[in-house]
Symmetry: C2
Subunit: 336 residues, 2 copies
DNA sequence: CTGTTAGCGCGTTCAT
DNA sequence: ATGAACGCGCTAACAG
C-alpha cells in the first residue's frame, strides 16, 4: 500500500505534483510525469477509494434495491442493471427489502451516508412518506414503478412497464382465441402488483363484452406453492368451470400446471393458460407457457441508463419511461 | 448534510466531544451526550461513510464475484451470501467475469483500492498467477472452489462442494436403479466444472463394474440450448442407445427433455435422467427432475460466514469447508 | 470530562 | 512547472 507521499519521496517531487501527474489535471512537465508514472508502477501505487470519495464526493457505486431476491422475476433486471453500470465504471450494491415498507424507508435513508452516488429502487409502497425520504436524500433515484402522482419532482426518474396493460394483453389474447370463461389467478390485490393486474383483466373482459364473474378470480400469493394450493382448492370446490386462465405470474402458472396434472386435467386441451412475466421458467414446463414479457431487461437497462445520465451527465429534469409489455406465444393456449 | 462541526456549533461543544458522544467511546458526560443527540436529530446528522472509512479502514462492503450472472445456478448463493452479510451489517457488491480469467485478475486487483473489506470469489481458473494476486491484495478472500494445492496459505479460506462426488452420486443412483447403459451429458471438460464431473461419472461406473463407453459421453456447453442441440444430434446420429443419463447441470437436462419430447422418447420410461444442480427449474419440468443438490445455499452461507470471521473476529488461520452434495429424488428415473 | 491537535490519503488553490 | 498549505469529515491521542 503506497501513497502519493511515497511516490513523492521516491521521485523527489512533492505530493501535489505527483497528484497532478497522475490525474493529468493542472500543470506538470513531461519529465515529471514520466518519473511519477514509473515510480507509481514500481511502488504498485493504487489510490485509496475512501480518500478519493471524501474529496470528490464520488463513490462509483450505486444501490439497487429490489423487493424480493427470491423471486426469479428480478434476475433479468439485476443482470441488466449490473451490465449498464459496469459499462459506466460503476459497481452495483444489491439489497432487498422482503416487501417490507419499513425496510424500504431505512434503505432510502442510508443514502445520506453517501456511500453510493444514487439508487434504483423497485417498491410497491410508494407513498408520500417514502417520496419525502427520497426527496430528502439529495441523491438521484430511479424508480422502476409507475408513479405518475409524483411526476413533478426533480430528483428522480421512472422506468417501468405497464402492469395493467400486461394483464390486458394476456386476457385479450386468450379471449381472441375464442375462450369465453376465462379466470384470473392473482396475488395480493392490495399491492400495486396485484390490483393493476386485476384491473387489466377486468378491462379486457369489458372491452370484449364478457361479463365479469368474481367466482373465476382466484386469490393466491405470487408463489409456486401458493398457486398450486389455491388452484387445487379452487378445483376441488368449484370444478374447472373455465377454459382459459390468466396467471398473474409464472410461478403461480407453474403451480397451476402441477395442480392440473394431479387432477388429470389435460393442458392445453381442457385449460389454456397465459402467464405474466415470461421468465426462463416458461420454456421449461410442459406445455411451454405462453407468457407476457414484462420487459424486465429493458426496464433494468433504462433504469440504469437514466441514473447514469443523472450522475455522469448531470441531467436535472425528470424523465418517465414507460415500456410496453409483449406477448410471447408458446404452447399453452388452445384455439377454440 | 450536517457534520460533527455543525453539531459542535449548535451545542457549544467541540467536535471531538460530539464524536465521543455519538460513538459512545471515550469519556463523555450524560448531559453532553443528551445535548448532542438532540442536536444530531435536529440537524438530521448522518455520518459520511467515506470519512469513516478513510480513518477506520473499514468499508462495510464485500465483493462477491461469480463467473456468470446468467446462470441460475448462482442465484441461491447470491441470496445466501447477501443474507449473511446483511446480518453482519455488510453490503454486497456483485460482479461477474463471464468466465474470463483476465477479468478475474482485474477484479482481484481492485481489492487494492480498498473499497471493500474482503471478497468471495468463484472462479474456475485458480492458478499461481491468480493466487499471487489474491495473496498480494492483503485482504481476506474466500474461494468457493476446491483448491487443495494452496492450502498452506494464510489469507484465504475455501467453502466448496465436491463436484466429483456429485457426479458420482448421480451416476451411482441411476446404476442402483438397475440401469446398465448410462450416458453423460457434460460441458467443457477443460474446466474444473467439467472434468471433475466426468471423473465422478467414470469412477462410479468403475465401482459398479460397468465398462466405460466413450460413445455415451456427449459434449455440450452447460446451456439449455446447447444441451438440446447436442442431445438431438446424438439421437440422430446414434439413436438412444442408453436407458439412463446423467446431465451435468439442470439447463442441459431441460434441453435434453425437450429433445426427447420432439423425438417422441417417453420419459422416464425410455430414458431416465438425473441432473446436477437441483435449481428451482427441476420442479417445473415434466417429469420433475431428480437432481443432485450442490449445496449452493450452504456454500454461500459458509463462504460469507468464513469471510465475516476473518473481517470481524480477525481470524488468521485457514479453514477449508467441504460440503457433501445430496441427491433429491423426483420423478425422472425409472426403476428397472 | 472536555478541547486541542494531528492525522487518514487525495485534490485543489495559491504562491513561488 | 512546482511545492506548501489546506480541506474533505471523522477518529484518536494527548493535554488540560
Amino acid at each position: 500500500m503506497s501513497t502519493i507521499y511515497d511516490i513523492g519521496r521516491e521521485t523527489g517531487l512533492s505530493p501535489s505534483t505527483v497528484a497532478r501527474a497522475l490525474s493529468g489535471k493542472g500543470y506538470c512537465s513531461e519529465e515529471a510525469k514520466i518519473k511519477v508514472q514509473k515510480a507509481a508502477k514500481k511502488l504498485n501505487y493504487i489510490p485509496v477509494q475512501a480518500a478519493k470519495s471524501l474529496k470528490s464526493k464520488i463513490t462509483k457505486k450505486v444501490m439497487f434495491c429490489i423487493p424480493d431476491i427470491y423471486n426469479p422475476y428480478y434476475f433479468d433486471m439485476i443482470r441488466e442493471v449490473n451490465r449498464v453500470l459496469e459499462q459506466n465504471g460503476y459497481y452495483m450494491i444489491l439489497v432487498h427489502t422482503g416487501h417490507d415498507a419499513k425496510k424500504e424507508l431505512e434503505i432510502v435513508d442510508t443514502l445520506k451516508e453517501r456511500f453510493v452516488d444514487g439508487m434504483i429502487i423497485l417498491s410497491f409502497h410508494f407513498d408520500d412518506k417514502l417520496m419525502d425520504r427520497i426527496r430528502n436524500s439529495g441523491l438521484p433515484v430511479v424508480l422502476t414503478n409507475r408513479c405518475d402522482s409524483y411526476a413533478d419532482e426533480e430528483n428522480f426518474d421512472c422506468a417501468y412497464v405497464d402492469y395493467m396493460k400486461a394483464a390486458y394483453i394476456a386476457t385479450e389474447y386468450i379471449l381472441k382465441k375464442g375462450h369465453k370463461k376465462v379466470g384470473l389467478l392473482v396475488g395480493d390485490i392490495r399491492e400495486q402488483m396485484g390490483y393493476e393486474r386485476l384491473e387489466g383483466y377486468q378491462r379486457a373482459l369489458q372491452d370484449y363484452k364478457i361479463p365479469y364473474d368474481e367466482k373465476l378470480v382466484i386469490y393466491s400469493d405470487f408463489t409456486k406453492t401458493g398457486g398450486y394450493a389455491s388452484f387445487s382448492e379452487y378445483l376441488k370446490r368449484d370444478g374447472l368451470g373455465m377454459t382459459g386462465l390468466v396467471a398473474c405470474n409464472d410461478l403461480m402458472g407453474i403451480g397451476c400446471i402441477q395442480a392440473c396434472r394431479e387432477t388429470k386435467i389435460v393442458l392445453p386441451e381442457q385449460l389454456s393458460i397465459v402467464t405474466l412475466d415470461n421468465t426462463d421458467y416458461c420454456s421449461c414446463t410442459y406445455p411451454e407457457l405462453t407468457s407476457v414479457d414484462m420487459r424486465q431487461t429493458q426496464v433494468g437497462q433504462n433504469a440504469a441508463e437514466l441514473l447514469m445520465e443523472r450522475i455522469r451527465q448531470g441531467r436535472r429534469y425528470t424523465k418517465m419511461i414507460s415500456l410496453m409489455p409483449r406477448l410471447v406465444e408458446r404452447n399453452s393456449v388452445l384455439q377454440l
